[in-house]
């Protein structure tokens, strides 16, 4: 099966029901996308499918052929993704860092569609991403900082 990941075409051989998460991690060695729950409850596995934030742990690869997949390894190539990564570094958001791939993917998708999110917008976009270390205050601050930078760049 051919997949398009971060603008690159790759061939994979895996059972049709294999979630995209495990194809990325086990078959392609792209371990930046994390396993957290396997039930789309925690957001650690978030990728973008045609620009939409999607939980890859419940998305069978049979459903993603022909779609553009972007992952944490490629998100820095987008304007929003880079602004989010920069803000994350400037505010030292991560603690253990494990959930942050998913947080960054959700935040980048939010900012792409909504350059000036309110607190309620942030809640709505980020509530699917659990951080057990409790970095939420810095995630919120970093999204606002990234939004400010993106706005200033226009």
């Amino acid at each position: 099966m051919e997949l398009s990941i971060n603008e690159t075409k790759v061939q994979v051989m895996a059972a049709d029901d294999t979630p995209l998460l495990w194809v990325l991690r086990d078959h392609l060695g792209m371990t930046g996308t994390k396993f957290g729950c396997g039930m789309a409850l925690c957001g650690a596995c978030t990728v973008h499918l045609d620009g939409q934030p999607t939980r890859s742990c419940m998305m069978p690869i049979s459903a993603v052929a022909g779609k553009k997949i972007s992952t944490i390894e490629g998100i820095g190539a987008t304007t929003a993704g880079q602004a989010v990564q920069d803000a994350w570094l400037a505010l030292d958001v991560p603690q253990c860092g494990y959930c942050q791939s998913g947080q960054i993917m959700s935040a980048a998708a939010l900012l792409k569609g909504n350059p000036k999110p309110s607190d309620a917008d942030i809640d709505a976009a980020m509530t699917g991403n659990i951080c057990r270390c409790g970095t939420y205050p810095r995630i919120r601050a970093a999204i606002k900082q990234a939004a400010g930078k993106l706005g200033a760049g226009k």
Binding site: W22, T31, G38, E73, L89, D92, I104, C131, C133
Partner: protein
């Protein structure tokens, strides 16, 4: 990079502390056989890092390598689980070394306590125990570089000075970079510890500044950081295990026919461990080994396993709670007693009684347990996200029948730990499976369900309190009974009582000056694996005591803050042994007395900063709690808003914190922020229940944790500066947590008049 100053010389001063019992780590209860006498003979009272297995090292040859290109590589021997140790520890070394942080590379030590000293990353101890050794480490290497430069110029070493990655000869203006000096410096002997010249703290460039960005930040945001679950080896197989859902359960028989039909399944293997106690051993189970994780998960779910549940198969949370309540309502083992409680209670003007219940919790670190192992030519290598690398090494060796010299443990980043990953059961699973597969590399991944079902759970407890108040409302009699299964039940016969290290977490060492006082600990039997969870027994003890004090203040018609400060009393130092606390977080009672002045100061600071007493809208309230733990002082004020239907929101939390000198203030802040969120999470949502011996929750839809929308909107932190750097360091990772739940429930009481006595709060406000 050519590392010419090499790690590897183990001659410098380690051997005398090679054989220390695991006293500190396990609270004085589990000793390596035959070692206790050795410790006793050497020194009866060892504290702090000295009391830990394998003590400490300050040998620069173990921790620092300098390349000829000038790159300084600093080895971190503690595990990074989000507390920032991979930034904090190296910045101490780099500061004393006068290294330019941009030329510092951080690398992770494998398990090797003979070389690095104790590696157990727990008890909020890493910076506290290694601040001084790491300073000496950096200072020793700096001295060697200065000596090498002075020798090359033929001048006295007193005329040269290391400044920002080079050594300068002031008189002549000559300079040599660290890279150019590395080879010569490496030939010099390590200077004697006593001869080292530590920096004057006014010259610190990284320590205490909080300006150093995370060592792993760039890797994390780019998805490149390597956690235990990310290990990939050539030819690696993937395993998922069906484990006994009940503590002590065994496989009676299993049918793997359906599992083996799934393409990609390589083998189904049994993990059978016959041991008298749970300790850190793997659980009995059946493993599926496959070509990828997904196939292993599918096939594991297709296994048919018949279990013999054993003696804990009837564990039921509801029935157990009733048992604990019964136990807590009767006299139990007396831990500490002063005056005549019963007499004073009967004569008191007013009597208050309250009982608090806190359920089991699961750690639920975002990275579930995962480890990879392979065995080549009788040598096992393990890659794992573990808090206790040396314990992992020794336990893997024991299970494989190897000597620990033949086991290498590579410590990855931990995707959260919170105490769960101090138990290496999952790493042993990987090693045992590799052994059954002729040494092939195998990665074991726990699913979230596995993690929730088979955690080493936070204890469950009933805390029963009674107080007698005099006519002014002051407590003249105090009775606290704490009934909770002990972590020590893991290691042998269940003691049925809290161990000294559990009692010392806010139970026996309750510091308020009440003339008639009795602290009791009725029996409680463990029916599941009980483990260390961030802040451990401080969570139930602080919840009970700090809720109860607020209840007493309300009963006395007093302001909670004033009442609490009166209980704390005037600034004074209390010897923990006078409180019958012989543990004191393994620290010296002289060096680390309970400082009531510092406790006062955090209460005064947090209430002032939070605007205690300010006018609030209807349905809003402020709640206060303060607690001494991990030799640090924390006070919190939580502001809540409770809506008409009982909807709870938390607009703001203030925390005042005194941990003595602050090595990396930004990570202290992040730890406190995280503790606030975790405190809110366990107070509002966290609960694991058991039925038929099995945890009833599977995943995050049932074991819920706080998400961004319910997290406090504002967290304001007030770090209290230490008077100077001679004040001994306190812990940071854990002490932020205990006051949060009681402060939150005290705020709910202030807002609504409803007193929460059982956690989690969940929908208890809905009816009101």
């Amino acid at each position: 990079m050519s590392a010419v100053m090499k790690a590897g010389d183990e001659s410098a001063g380690l051997s005398r502390r090679e054989f220390l019992a695991r006293v500190g780590a396990l609270g004085g209860l589990v000793l390596i056989a035959g070692v206790a006498e050795v410790v006793k003979a050497q020194d009866a009272a060892r504290y702090g890092a000295d009391s830990m297995p394998h003590g400490w090292s300050d040998n620069p040859l173990a921790f620092i390598a300098i390349g000829e290109d000038g790159t300084v590589t600093i080895v971190v021997h503690r595990s990074e689980m989000g507390q920032g140790v991979r930034t904090g520890m190296p910045l101490i070394v780099a500061d004393e070394l006068e290294a330019d942080w941009s030329k510092v590379r951080v690398t992770q030590a494998p398990a090797d306590e003979l070389k690095f000293g104790n590696q157990d990353t727990d008890g909020s101890r890493s910076t506290r125990h290694f601040f001084e050794p790491m300073r000496r480490c950096g200072a020793a290497a700096r001295t060697m570089l200065e000596q090498a430069a002075a020798a090359s110029w033929g001048v006295s070493v007193s005329e040269v000075q290391a400044v920002n990655h080079e050594v300068v000869h002031r008189k002549s203006g000559r300079k040599l970079g660290y890279g150019a000096l590395a080879r010569a410096a490496a030939q010099l002997p390590v200077p004697a510890r006593e001869s080292l010249r530590l920096k004057d703290p006014t010259r610190f460039r990284y320590i205490g500044k909080g300006k150093t960005h995370l060592a792993d930040g760039r890797d994390i945001v780019a998805g490149k950081a390597q956690y235990g679950i990310d290990t990939r080896l050539e030819g690696m197989l993937y395993a998922v295990v069906a484990r006994s859902p009940v503590l002590g359960g065994k496989v009676v028989r299993y049918d793997a026919a359906e599992a083996l039909k799934i393409p990609g399944v390589v083998k189904v293997l049994q993990i059978q461990v016959s041991v008298p106690s749970a300790k850190f051993h793997p659980l009995n189970g059946v493993a599926v080994v496959a070509m990828d994780t997904w196939t292993a998960i599918k096939a594991r779910n297709a296994l048919k396993v018949q279990w013999d549940d054993g003696v804990h198969g009837s564990y039921d949370s509801k029935a157990y709670r009733a048992e604990l309540e019964q136990a807590a309502r009767k006299p139990g083992k007396v831990l500490r007693e002063a005056g005549d409680v019963d007499g004073a209670m009967s004569k008191a003007a007013h009597k208050v009684e309250a009982e608090y219940y806190l359920p089991h919790l699961a750690h639920a670190s975002m990275e579930p347990p995962a480890a990879t192992a392979r065995i080549v030519d009788g040598r096992c290598e393990v890659w794992a996200a573990v808090q206790a690398p040396q314990v992992t090494r020794e336990d893997v060796a024991k299970h494989l029948g190897l000597s620990s010299e033949n086991v290498t443990v590579h410590v990855t980043l931990l995707g959260g730990g919170f105490g769960r990953k101090s138990k290496p059961d999952f790493a042993i699973e990987a090693a045992l499976l590799s052994q059954q597969l002729a040494g092939k590399p195998v990665k074991v991944t726990w699913t979230r369900e596995d993690d929730v079902h088979n955690d080493y759970f936070h204890t469950v407890s009933v805390e029963h309190l009674q107080a007698g108040l005099d006519a002014r409302g002051k407590p003249v009699a105090w009775l606290h009974r704490s009934a909770a299964p002990s972590i020590v039940s893991l290691f042998g016969p269940d003691p049925k009582h809290e161990a000294p290290f559990e009692q010392g977490m806010g139970l026996i060492n309750m510091p308020y000056d009440v003339p008639n006082l009795r602290i009791e600990n009725p029996e409680a039997v463990a029916h599941t694996r009980i483990g260390w969870f961030r802040s451990v027994s401080n969570v139930p003890h602080a919840f009970a005591v700090q809720s109860f004090v607020a209840e007493l203040a309300a009963a006395a018609g007093r302001d909670h803050r004033d009442y609490l400060l009166e209980l704390v009393g005037p600034p004074r130092l209390i010897d923990p042994t006078a409180l019958k606390d012989g543990w004191n977080y393994s620290e010296s009672p002289q060096r680390y007395p309970v400082d009531m002045g510092r406790l006062r100061r955090v209460i005064e600071t947090v209430t002032r900063e939070a605007g205690w007493g300010r006018k609030l809208a209807k349905g809003r309230g402020l709640g206060l709690a303060a607690h001494y733990s991990f030799v640090s002082y924390t006070a919190a004020v939580v502001e809540v808003a409770v809506g008409g239907k009982g909807e709870l929101t938390i607009p703001r939390v203030d925390v005042a914190f005194d941990c003595g000198p602050q090595v990396n203030p930004d990570r202290i802040r992040s730890q406190l922020e995280g503790a606030v969120v975790m405190g809110v999470s366990l107070a509002t949502l966290g609960e694991i229940t058991f039925k038929n011996g099995r945890a009833e929750q599977d995943n995050f839809h049932q074991y819920q944790v706080t998400r961004i929308d319910a997290a406090p909107r504002q967290i304001k932190l007030h770090l209290l500066p230490a008077s100077d750097w001679s004040v001994p360091l306190g812990g940071v990772g854990e002490p932020g947590l205990p006051p949060i739940a009681p402060a939150l429930c005290n705020a709910i009481f202030a807002a609504t008049g409803k007193r929460i006595r059982q956690l989690p709060i969940r929908d208890q406000l809905a009816s009101g």
